[in-house]
């Protein structure tokens, strides 16, 4: 069963966060181990398997980027697995230059500005994904998702760098 079906939601790129939360919390109550303590072991085991699968589905669908990657997989777009490399020069040059810029940013404010730009870029890129799926343009979807992965990593690195800079200036 795919993660959307498990939560009783239609498979879609865009999900209303409140609808996802509602579906998750209702099912989580239904499969809560406390309700199965007095039940036979098979039922207890099934409840715990369901609860784990439910958590996995919720985690995957909650974050817009991980949801987009998952939705793309359902649509037959394969992204490189762990340990697989890519050599797209345009994408990697952009990622390399962004990381260099971040590395050279000397103040928490400068890092903050770069992070804000990356977040804005992510938001816009995620918003544009919908039309790529409508056209079923798999290479473009793949490239957009890879680029988003690098933007996501950039945002993570920017947070770490900002904390370091704030700590050293405090």
């Amino acid at each position: 069963m795919n993660h959307f079906a498990r939560l009783g939601l239609p498979a879609a790129l865009d999900l209303e966060p409140a609808a996802l939360d509602r579906a998750y919390f209702a099912l989580q109550r239904q499969w809560h181990p406390d309700r199965f303590v007095a039940k036979p072991p098979e039922e207890r085991a099934k409840a715990s398997t369901e609860a784990a699968a439910l958590n996995d589905a919720y985690r995957t669908l909650k974050d817009p980027l991980s949801r987009a990657v998952y939705f793309a997989e359902l649509k037959g777009v394969e992204l490189p697995a762990d340990g697989k490399t890519i050599d797209d020069p345009e994408l990697l040059m952009e990622a390399m230059e962004a990381r260099e810029e971040l590395h050279e940013a000397g103040s928490a404010e400068a890092v903050h500005a770069l992070a804000a730009k990356a977040r804005e870029d992510m938001k816009n890129s995620l918003a544009r994904l919908g039309s790529l799926f409508l056209r079923d343009d798999k290479p473009a979807i793949r490239k957009a998702l890879l680029r988003l992965r690098y933007l996501d990593k950039f945002a993570e690195e920017a947070r770490a760098r900002r904390m370091n800079l704030e700590r050293s200036s405090a």
């Binding site: 992204l79 490189p80 697995a81 762990d82 340990g83 697989k84 490399t85 890519i86 050599d87 797209d88 020069p89 994408l91 990697l92 040059m93 990622a95 390399m96 990381r99 260099e100 590395h103 890879l146 992965r149 690098y150 996501d152 990593k153 950039f154 993570e156 690195e157």
Partner: protein
């Protein structure tokens, strides 16, 4: 997780960080990435007239194991022919640095980076050696910018 002394040494004192002129005819540039972890690695070689790699530089944004793997490779390839450098295997890198299993992919990145740098260098020299193509070189370079 316990890291080996060699790995920590390469991470704390990385060799050959920097850049070579990517437009130079005797420089090959390899740019590779591992999207699953967001790493990006640039590895460059400068080949002398004698066919030996006389300089190598790298720039890696990634975890300590990725930095150590690329640092080690730049050290290894210096003084080698490009054919010899092309035989470097990720398993050699992983073994030398005693990379833990979850970090093996960092050595794969370094192997792919040196292979890409060699391929770039070969593509450049093939263009120079081929008189039919060398006339249109300036335009093709301008288009690639």
């Amino acid at each position: 997780m316990a890291y080996s002394e060699k790995l920590i040494d390469h991470y704390e004192n990385p060799r050959n960080i920097g850049s070579l002129d990517k437009n130079s005819e005797d420089v090959g540039t390899g740019l590779v990435g591992a999207p699953a972890c967001g790493d990006v690695m640039k590895l460059q070689i400068k080949v002398g007239a004698d066919g030996l790699i006389e300089d190598a530089k790298f720039k890696t944004f990634g975890c300590g194991s990725a930095i150590a793997s690329s640092s080690l490779v730049t050290e290894w390839v210096k003084g080698k022919t490009i054919d010899e450098a092309g035989t470097i295997k990720n398993t050699d890198i992983a073994k030398h640095l005693a990379l833990p299993p979850v970090k093996i992919h960092c050595s794969v990145l370094a192997e792919d980076a040196i292979k890409a740098a060699i391929a770039d260098y070969r593509a450049k020299t093939a263009k120079v050696d081929d008189p039919a193509k060398s006339t249109g070189k300036d335009e093709s370079q301008a288009a690639a910018e």
